[in-house]
Amino acid sequence: MTGPGPVAAQGVGGAAPSPARSVAVVRPAALRDVADGRSTVTVTVPTVPTVPTVPAPAAAVTVGRVLDALAAAHPRLERRLRDERGTLRRHVNVFVAGDDCRALLGQDTPVPDGAEVVVLPNIAGG
C-alpha cells in the first residue's frame, strides 16, 4: 500500500497524529502473580511517525512493539513471554484478533485498532 495512511490523512486536516495507542494484553492465570494480578494489562504503545510512503499507521503497532511496551512497564511479565534476545518463548503463543501471530508475521504482526493481544501457553507435558 502506498499513499498517506489514515493518521497521516488526519494530519493533513490539521489534527496531530495520535502519539500512542492503548492495547489490551490478556494474560493467562499462570502469569497473574506478576504485576497487578488482573487478567488484562493495558499498555501504551508509541506510534511510529507516519509519512505518506509507509504502510497505514495502524500497522505500526505490532506484536513486537506491544511487547516492548510491556517490557517497559512490567519487565518481569514480559520476560516470561520473550527471552533476552527478544525471541518469543517456544511454548508461549500470542494471538491477535484470534489469530496466532506465528502463523502471520510473528512479532511483526500488526495489531489492528481495538484488537486485543491474547497470551496463551501451549498445553503439553506431564
Binding site: 499462570a30 519487565p75 516470561r80 533476552e84 534476545r85 508461549v92
Partner: protein
C-alpha cells in the same frame, strides 16, 4: 538451632525443617510446576540473621530465573530486570541455572553456573549477576553439552586467594583461573574421557562434581563420568581413588566441612546402568582421602532402582564435626538426612517429584 533442607524438584521447591535431625516438617511445593535445578543458602546481606535462600527456577512455558528469599522461603523476590541476563552482544538467551554457590570467605559474592555453559558472578548476594567474560570468550567454547544439558555445575573458591576459582562443567571438565576469571586454563590431567578417541584429552572430560577438602582447596575430589579422582595440587593433576568402591560411576561428591580426608560418594552401577549397585542405595565414605572406602547408610533401602543427581546431595557443618547435616534426594522423590556422618539416615520426604537439587543449612 534449626536444620533446614531446600529441596529443588522437577515441579517445585520443598522445604524441610527439623530441630533434631530426626523429626522433619516438610512444606511446599512452592514454584509449583517449575523446575528447581539449583538452590543455595548464602550469607544474608549485611550479615546476621537467617541465610538468604536462592532458587534457580525454570518454567517450560515462562523461562528461567533466580529468586531469593530472606525469610527462609516465606516470601520471594525476583529482580525486576532479571538476575541472569545474557548481554546483547552474545546473542544468547539463558536456558537454565544449574548452580548457585555462595563464597564462604566473601559474603555477598555468589556464583551461578548456567546453561548454555557459562559462569556468572554476583556481588549483591545473588540478586543480579554478571557474565564472567573470560570463560565465555574461551577458545574452547562451545563445550559439548552433557546428557542433562550444558552446565557449569561446580564452583570452588579459595579463601586465601581472591583470584583463584575452579569450575567444573559437563562436559568440558575442570578449568581454573588465577586472575579472578580473566583467563582460564583446563585442568584435567589424569582424568579419563574414555568416551573420546583420545581418552586423556586436554579438555572434554565429563566431570560430574568436584568437592574441596575441609583443609582447603589444594586437595580436591572429583566424581567423573566413570572415575573417582583426587588432586593434591589444586587440580593440576588427578589420580584415581576408585579402588575399593563398587563402581566408579556416579554423580555425587561430598567433602566433610570440618574433617580433612572425609568424603562421600554415591555409586551407581555404570554409565549404561544408572542404578545403585545391586539395588543397594548406599553412600560410600572414606576417612583417608579416598585410599579406603566403607559402605555406610544402614537405614537406606535395598531394592532401589533410582539414582541421585549431582546436586541432589549436600553436607553442612553443624559445629559438631561428628554430626554434620548430610542429605541427598533421589529421582523417585525420596529425601534422606543423616547427622552421624552417614552411618544412619532418616527419610525426610517421600513421593516428591524427581529431586534435582538439595542444599542443607543450619540456622541459629
Amino acid at each position: 538451632m534449626t536444620l533446614v533442607l531446600a529441596i529443588g524438584t522437577r515441579k517445585g521447591l520443598v522445604l524441610a525443617r527439623s530441630a533434631d535431625g530426626a523429626a522433619w516438617k516438610v512444606e511446599g511445593p512452592q514454584f509449583l510446576m517449575q523446575e528447581v535445578a539449583a538452590v543455595g543458602f548464602v550469607a544474608a546481606p549485611g550479615g546476621g540473621g537467617a541465610p538468604r535462600l536462592l532458587a534457580g527456577v525454570r518454567s517450560e512455558h515462562w523461562g528461567p530465573g533466580v529468586s531469593h528469599s530472606d525469610d527462609l522461603g516465606e516470601t520471594w523476590v525476583e529482580a525486576e530486570a532479571g538476575s541472569v541476563v545474557f548481554p546483547e552482544d552474545t546473542d544468547t538467551a539463558l536456558e537454565r541455572v544449574w548452580q548457585l554457590q555462595g563464597d564462604p570467605a566473601r559474603p555477598g559474592v555468589v556464583w551461578a553456573g548456567c546453561q548454555p555453559t557459562s559462569l556468572w558472578r554476583s556481588d549483591d548476594a545473588g540478586e543480579t549477576f554478571s557474565l564472567v567474560r573470560g570463560l565465555w570468550d574461551h577458545p574452547h567454547r562451545p563445550w559439548e553439552p552433557g546428557f542433562g544439558g550444558a552446565a557449569v555445575h561446580t564452583v570452588v573458591t579459595d579463601p586465601q586467594d581472591d583470584g583463584r576459582v575452579l569450575v567444573a562443567m559437563s562436559s568440558g571438565g575442570v578449568y581454573v583461573t588465577a586472575d579472578g576469571g580473566g583467563t582460564w586454563r583446563p585442568s584435567n590431567t589424569g582424568i579419563s574421557a574414555y568416551f573420546l578417541p583420545d581418552p586423556y584429552p586436554e579438555y572434554g572430560q565429563c566431570v560430574h562434581k568436584v568437592a574441596a577438602d575441609a583443609a582447603g582447596p589444594a586437595v580436591l575430589y572429583a566424581q567423573n563420568h566413570h572415575g573417582v579422582y583426587r588432586s593434591d595440587d589444586a587440580g593440576a593433576t588427578w589420580t584415581s581413588i576408585a579402588e575399593g568402591l563398587p563402581s566408579d560411576f556416579g554423580f555425587v561428591m561430598l567433602a566433610h566441612p570440618q574433617r580433612p580426608g572425609t568424603v562421600w560418594v554415591l555409586p551407581l552401577e555404570a554409565d549404561g546402568r544408572r542404578v545403585p549397585p545391586g539395588g543397594r542405595l548406599r553412600l560410600h565414605r572414606s576417612r583417608d582421602g579416598g585410599r579406603t572406602w566403607s559402605e555406610v547408610g544402614t537405614d537406606l533401602p535395598d531394592g532401589s532402582w533410582t539414582s541421585v543427581l549431582r546436586d541432589a546431595a549436600d553436607v553442612a557443618g553443624t559445629g559438631d564435626a561428628a554430626a554434620p547435616l548430610l542429605t541427598f534426594g533421589t529421582r523417585d522423590g525420596c529425601v534422606w538426612a543423616s547427622t552421624d556422618e552417614g552411618e544412619t539416615f532418616v527419610e525426610v520426604a517421600t513421593h516428591l517429584p524427581d529431586v534435582l537439587s538439595v542444599r542443607a543449612a543450619v540456622v541459629a
